[in-house]
Every structure is written in C-alpha cells, then in structure tokens.
C-alpha cells in the first residue's frame, strides 16, 4: 500500500517519466489503434511494428548517431513501404492478404535484424541502445523521451479529433464516404501515417512483438461494452492508460520486471474480462440469453403440440401422457418431463400424476403460437410466392419471435384469414 502511495505521489522524477510516458503511449496508441480494429486490419499494426526495424537501422546508418528524427524518418519510410507492398501483393498476385502480411512482416524484420547485427559489429559506439527498439525500454524512459512522446501524442490526438467523423465514416461505410465526395485515399493516407507514427513511438516502450497489443487490445475490450463509437474510444483510451500506469507501477515495485510485457498482460486481462463478463455482448450473457431463448422455444413447442392434439379431439383440456407428445414430435423423455414440470410451475399446465393438461392460460399461449405459425405460412405463400410445402421450417422459427405489433400488422395485411395454405384453421383469441 505504501508503495502504491509513493508511486502515485510521483515524487521521484524517474517514476514520473516512466508513468507519464507509458500512459501517453498506451492511451494514444489505443485511440489510433481503435481505427485499425474497426477497419478489421488489426494485424497491419503488427506488420508495421516489424517493418520499421530496417528503417530505424537505415536512419542510423544515414545519420551516424541515434538522432531521433533520423530514426523516426527511417522507420516511417519502411513502415510505409511495407503497407504499400502488402497492398500491392494482395491486389496484383493471387496471394491472400494474411499471407502477404506475414510475408512482409517476417522478411522486413529479417532484413532489419541483418542490418542491426551488421551495425553492432561495425564498431560504432553510438549504436548501443538501438536494440531498445526490439524489446522496448519503458522502464528506462528519461525526460527527453517524455518530451518526444508528448509531442507525438498531442499530434496524434489533435489529428484524430479533427478527422474523427471522417475516420469513423471510412471504417463503417467506405462506399458512402466516396459517394459524398470525401477524399477517401487522402484520409486513408493520414490514418495510416498516424498508425505508423504511433508504432514508431510505441515500440520504444513495449517492443516489436507486443506493439500490436497496445494498438488493438484496448479497442477490442472496449467494443464489448458499448455500441457507441465515442464511448468506445473513451473506454479504449482509459483501458490503455490504466494498463500503462499499472505496467509502470509493477516494474516500480519489482525492478527486474519488464514494463512492456506487464502493460500487455494487464490490458489483456481487461480484454478477457470484457469478453466474458460484458453485458449483452460478453460470452456469459450471450450464453444466458441463448439458454433462456432455448427454454422459451421448448416451452412453446410443447404447448403447441398439446394444442394440436386438442384440435384433433376438439377439446383442448384432455390430460395427456408424455408418450402422446413424443409420438407427434420426438423428445428425449426425461427432457420432456422437465419441460412439462417447468410449464406446470409456470401455470400453463395442470399435472395429475403422469397426466398433463393445458390450463386456460396454456391454451391461450399455445393458440397464439399456432396462429402466428399459420399466418406466417399464409404470408409467405401469398406475398413471397413460396410453395406451401416450403414454408413450414420458416414459420417454425418465426412463431416464437414475432412481436405483438408485427402480429397485428400481419393479421391486418392478410385480412384476418380463416385458414392457412394447408387448410388448417387459424385460431384467433376468444374465438
């Protein structure tokens, strides 16, 4: 606890540099990366991260020192070339995009490693520290790094805010953007430059391999909590900033721990929590929803069979054995019994030992399902001109899902018909 307070007081300038540097990096990368996520180009960030290495070496060879401007310019150039090549290979040959990305990524990185090792053996003393670009050095950030990071972060944020609408439109509907006369190519160019810039700065903190995580994982996590793009970007930047801060804190308390990988572990944990527990989109809530829909469909199907059996005898309230139900539609017997028990708890069915009969309430619910089924069959044959023997499957699904409003419109449009295409009577309420 003391360590946390001491860390958060930022009294030590080193802590200040590392913490603010990490937060700036992760938050701004998360915002830029969210667009690559929405464009379904998450792995492009990975490709750029690897492809900047030869550029950094080239910049070093040209400048002779680790001049940050030369390195960034070099990185920018090869990062860009890699993207152009991926695009070129994908459009001009029969190689698919994923292969092209993997190819460019690994070959560029190979060239980079070759150049790096050649430089290391060249005896130029200024080269030491070039390999920070490989693995990151978030824990050893100094004041001048922080200034560079801040400038880049401000540039990224200003451009993203200025072009937020355009970027979003491109991510969701490129054709529409083109049709209203937006310079699509130009905007894509700006966005790609931003990604390259974010990568060039980011890999100094977390390294080549983990850069992709800083870009896309916050966005992937944020996507699970909201359908609003502004909220998603806010969440992504918050997740990013939190992981940056946590990573810095962990390597502060345990100095042997690398900051970059911890940032990634924290952000991944946030992402996994989101994947599982987010309301609506999360795995668990999706599972619960599916289970409850499955229950509802089973309930309604059993009620429907009891209703149809009742139609044959012109009496809906005759008690039936489970076997009579199974004869009309196959069920595993124990499963059927449990559905029947559930229905009797809900008051749709009366149970007398092994005999089950619809209640008034059960009959009404079943009747509605049967009505929608037959109305839908009629609708499909009259309006969609589908043959009567092809409409059952579709009606079997819609009967559980149609809302009362749609049900009413269907009745009105068809003019309250009496029979369906199979000459079965369409039952109306209280009829």
């Amino acid at each position: 606890m003391n360590a946390l307070l001491e860390f958060l007081s930022f009294s030590d300038p080193n802590i200040r540099y590392v913490a603010f540097g990490s937060v700036l990096l992760t938050a701004s990368s998360a915002i830029v990366g969210a667009f690559t996520f929405l464009n379904k180009k998450s792995l492009v960030g990975d490709a750029i991260a690897h492809a900047v290495l030869p550029g950094i070496c080239l910049g070093f060879i040209m400048a002779g020192t680790k001049n940050p401007v030369a390195l960034i310019v070099g990185a920018f150039v090869t990062g860009w070339i890699s993207l152009v090549l991926v695009e070129f290979i994908t459009t001009k040959t029969r190689i698919k995009e994923d292969t092209a990305i993997g190819l460019i990524l690994s070959v560029f990185f190979g060239i980079g490693i070759l150049m790096l090792t050649v430089i290391q053996k060249s005896g130029n003393a200024a080269q030491s520290g070039l390999d920070h670009f490989l693995f990151g050095k978030a824990a050893s950030l100094v004041g001048s790094d922080l200034i560079t990071f801040s400038i880049v972060a401000v540039i990224l944020l200003v451009i993203v805010f200025a072009l937020f609408k355009e970027f979003s439109l491109l991510a969701f509907d490129k054709d529409y953007a083109r049709s209203i006369g937006l310079p699509v190519k130009g905007i894509e160019l700006v966005l790609t430059s931003l990604i390259v810039l974010a990568v060039v700065i980011g890999i100094q903190a977390v390294g080549v391999v983990l850069m992709a995580a800083i870009l896309i994982t916050p966005a992937a996590a944020a996507r699970f909590w909201t359908d609003k793009i502004s909220v998603m970007f806010l969440l992504a930047s918050m997740f990013g900033a939190f992981s940056g801060l946590s990573g810095a804190f962990i390597s502060y308390t345990a100095p042997s721990m690398p900051t970059g990988p911890w940032i990634v572990i924290v952000i991944s944990t946030i992402a996994f929590i989101s994947f599982f527990f987010a309301p609506n989109r999360g795995v668990i809530s999706r599972f619960i929803r599916q289970a409850s829909i499955r229950k509802m469909i089973n309930n309604e199907n059993v009620l429907k069979i009891l209703y149809q059996l009742g139609e044959e005898n012109r009496n809906f309230f005759i008690p039936r054995l489970p076997d009579e139900i199974i004869r009309r539609r196959f069920y595993d017997k124990p499963a059927l019994i449990s559905i029947l028990k559930r229905l009797s708890r809900q008051g749709y069915i009366d149970r007398t030992r092994n005999l089950w009969a619809l209640t008034e309430e059960g009959k009404n619910r079943a009747q509605r399902v049967v009505k929608i089924h037959r109305l839908w069959e009629l609708y499909l044959t009259t309006y969609m001109h589908i043959a009567p023997d092809h409409v059952h499957e579709d009606a079997e699904t819609i009967e559980h899902l149609l809302t009362p409003e749609l049900e009413e419109r269907l009745e009105q449009q068809l003019g309250y018909p009496k029979v369906d295409p199979h000459k079965s009577e369409i039952p109306y309420g209280n009829a």
Partner: protein, 291 residues
C-alpha cells in the same frame, strides 16, 4: 563436418519442415495463425524448461504442442463464442501469451537459459558448437542437426500418411466433412505440427524467422505452380536455397544468419512475383499485351 556445412544443413532441414507446413497454412488462409503460434509457444517453452531443467527434451516439445493447441483453441473460441473478429482474436491471443513468456523469462532469469534476443532471432551460428559426443568419445556432430532432421522426418511422415485427408480438408472442407473427415481434427493436427516445428526451430532460427520460413517459400512456390505436390517440393527447395544463400550473405556481411535467410527468402519471393512463367507479373503483362 565443417561448420559451414552443418549450419547450412540444419537451416535447410528446418526450412524444409516449415515450408511443407507453410503450404497448408497459406492455402487454408491461416498464415497469421502460424505467426501467432510461433510467438505464443514462448511460455510453453519456458514452463517446460522449468519443469524438465533442460532445453532439448521431449517435455519441451510437449509443452509447446499443448500451448500451440491452446492458442488455436483460444483464437477460435474468441472468434466463435465472443464474436470477436478473427484478426483481433489472433492479435490479442498471441501478444498476451508472448508477454507471459517474456515475464516468465525475467522472473526465472537465473534458472532459464533463454534470452529475448535468442527468442526473436535465434542463434544458428552456435549450432556447430553444441555437439553430441558418445561415451566412447566419438564426435557425432551437432545436436541441432539431429533434432531438425527428426522433426523433418516426423513432418514428412505426417503429410505422407495423412495426405489425402489434409488435401481434402484444405481444398474442399465442405466435401471433406460430407464424406466424414473431421475438419476440426485435421485443423488441430496441422496446428500441433506447426507448434512442434516452431519449437524445434526456435533455438536455431528464432520466432520471427520461423514465420519467414513458414510463409515465404510456400508463397513463392504458390506463385509458380498449380500442382499441390509440386508446390510442396518447390517450397522445400526454396527453403533450402534461402538457407544456403542466407548463410553466405551473412558471412559476407558479417551479420545475423537467420536475418539473412529471411532476407533471401524475401528476394526469392520477389523474383517469383516478377518472373514466374505462370503467375508472374512480367509474363502476365506480356500476355495481356499480346492479346
């Protein structure tokens, strides 16, 4: 055996294994899954290393195999159950596992004889130094040579024995499942093979260059032939060619051998892209002009 020869031979054996599997990966549009696995096996290697206490054991292959399967499973799971888009699912999964691997290495820095440099770009130059010496004191040659040879034999056997099933599930998965071949089973089988090969190649060529060897020779072959058996053969050939060319390039420049091999494999791809008689840009252009 001379040092040159043993390095080139080891690299060629590794690249042949990778090239064979790479053909399946790129045709199944799973090149990036291969990339993901090659990074994600890192924690498996470290854990296996901690348990068994040595680098070259069966445990290591097993650990990597398990983690490789786990990676494949997670990618599928996030995609199918959480409806996360595939590219993001791959990106999130492998970076997470790689980060865990790096943290484990720092955590057990004293106990694990692995470092990040080696993980990323291998140390094939040291292959000739680690030799097997029998009890009688006879030098049997570099250990890595045997490991990569065995892995190649295992891969060849796998592809030879399951050729029809691999072929069908790759080119016509719908038909394959219609005649009762489990596409899921073979999907995981290939991913298992990729994981094992990656780990076996890790020490010599490193994570990123395994990716280069998985993808580049296969993609090059894909631009030259339409016959799948031919593609497998050519891919192995290009792998070996890259290894040889790469070695001499590295010696000439005095740089990383693995990096040079990846560079040469890229050059071969560029040549095929330009000059392939069937799918090259040059002849395509001539054909369109001639029409």
């Amino acid at each position: 055996m001379s040092n040159d020869l043993s390095i080139i031979l080891t690299a060629s054996l590794v690249s042949a294994s990778c090239a064979l599997l790479g053909c399946f990966l790129i045709l199944r549009k799973m090149a990036m899954v291969g990339d993901a696995i090659s990074h994600a096996v890192l924690p498996g290697i470290v854990i296996a290393f901690l348990i068994s206490g040595s680098r070259d054991s069966f445990t290591m292959l097993l650990g990597a195999g398990i983690i490789g399967m786990f990676t494949t499973f997670l990618i599928e799971f996030f995609h199918k159950k959480a409806r996360l888009q595939t590219d993001a699912s791959i990106g999130v999964t492998f970076t997470w596992l790689f980060a865990i691997g790096v943290v484990l290495i720092s955590l057990f820095a004293g106990k694990v004889d692995l470092d990040q440099d080696c993980v990323l770009y291998g140390e094939i130059a040291y292959v000739p130094l680690d030799v097997i010496i029998t009890q009688g004191g006879i030098n049997m040659g570099p250990k890595a040579l045997y490991v990569s040879g065995i892995i190649l034999i295992v891969n060849l056997l796998f592809i030879f024995l399951a050729y029809r099933k691999l072929f069908l599930t790759t080119f016509d998965p719908a038909f394959a499942s219609a005649i009762g071949i489990s596409t899921t089973l073979w999907h995981y089988a290939i991913m298992g093979a990729v994981s094992m090969t990656t780990v076996a190649s890790f020490e010599s060529v490193g994570a990123i260059l395994v990716v280069a060897l998985l993808i580049a020779p296969a993609a090059t072959a894909y631009l030259i032939t339409d016959n799948f058996k031919m593609m497998l053969t050519l891919a192995c050939l290009f792998g070996a060619l890259s290894s040889m060319g790469g070695y001499y390039l590295a010696v000439w420049l005095d740089g990383s051998i693995a990096g040079a091999i990846a560079s040469v494999s890229g050059v071969l791809f560029a040549l095929a892209m330009a000059l392939s008689p069937t799918h090259g840009l040059f002849f395509k252009k001539i054909k369109t002009v001639a029409h």
